[in-house]
Subunit: 198 residues, 2 copies
């Protein structure tokens, strides 16, 4: 790991857990054992450092999803849904700090005035939500899911999974403990309703 990568990684962890404003450049120095000047040699400013983090997260998330969903086929839309949720949880574990950072408001706030930031976030979120939309469309195509509006249903799915992870971030509940129940809930929510004969 190069010095630059070490700095970016340390900043990711600190920004995610302490916040952007709340983290000082000296904090990052202490963790990485570098001098302050070194950080500014590699990144043009504190905000530039955050941009590098977001860009890296974007690249990683997009390629992870690429790897997990291209060229694969699933027994049914419901199976694909299960895989999409599982993959979300898996990613949130592997890229723990990046996901925690994305759950904070400061990136979204910065996005309002910084087009580069806006573009990174948009790429990440459309990747995450598009998968759920594809899931719903696939389920409807193979008849395993009811005829619900795909985009809206996808957003609700996304809100569910993301909301659950937020419970963990805020120390309100252990998201992992709800995983099985979440999958079961999603299945009931999405499955084609029976035809009324019962």
């Amino acid at each position: 790991m190069t010095r630059k990568e070490a700095i970016r990684y340390a900043a990711t962890v600190l920004f995610a857990h302490k916040g952007f404003q709340e983290t000082t450049m000296q904090d990052i120095c202490k963790v990485t054992g570098t001098a302050e000047g070194t950080i500014f040699y590699h990144f043009k400013s504190k905000e530039g450092l955050l941009m590098a983090i977001l860009e890296h997260a974007k690249t990683q998330i997009l390629s992870e999803y690429e790897a997990a969903f291209t060229g694969r086929d699933f027994a049914s839309g419901l199976e694909m849904m299960e895989e999409a949720v599982a993959h979300y949880f898996r990613l949130a574990g592997v890229m723990e700090h990046e996901f925690t950072l994305l759950q904070r408001q400061f990136p979204h706030q910065l996005a309002e005035e910084n087009p580069e930031c806006r573009s990174h976030l948009a790429a990440i979120y459309s990747c995450l939500t598009d998968i759920f939309e594809r899931v719903v469309r696939a389920g409807q195509a193979d008849g395993s899911m009811g005829a619900f509006p795909p985009r809206e249903t996808a957003m609700i799915l996304f809100a569910m999974v993301d909301g659950l992870l937020r419970l963990k971030t805020c120390n309100l509940y252990d998201a992992g403990a709800l995983y099985d129940e979440l999958i079961a809930s999603c299945r009931r929510m999405l499955a084609k309703p029976c035809d009324g004969s019962c």
Copy 2:
């Protein structure tokens, strides 16, 4: 509205939308038209001001839920669920700034070291989640809902509604546009599954 209330209100709006660290005492002065000393006359510190905001939010949320759910009875658990979700959305509209503030991490972070803060947040969140748990238990009692674990199901419901509101906070999607679809999804998720004859 007294001077003190005006300061608390202005701080609520600013903390919610700019963040705690990101808001300066001078920002609050500008909005309220007071001198800096005045704020410290009414509140012992910036953190004390945040505590006052949380205490006020707690009181308001608890009494709103009290008013909405005590002494009422519902046609079925599913109806009660609908009312619980509707009430959550209604509250999030009426107390917009307080809810936005609660969606930020700084209160949860402060809660880790400040017992007063922890107690306010715990009161607010148990109020919000307990309602959903009561909903599930009521639905199971009257036979309108399946035999799902009440606490876990309540947490998933909560994550859904809260996650949806977060989409709005982060400018990702208009939560209101998903309201009808959310209710329908929750009904499918919670309704007793048919007996297999179809």
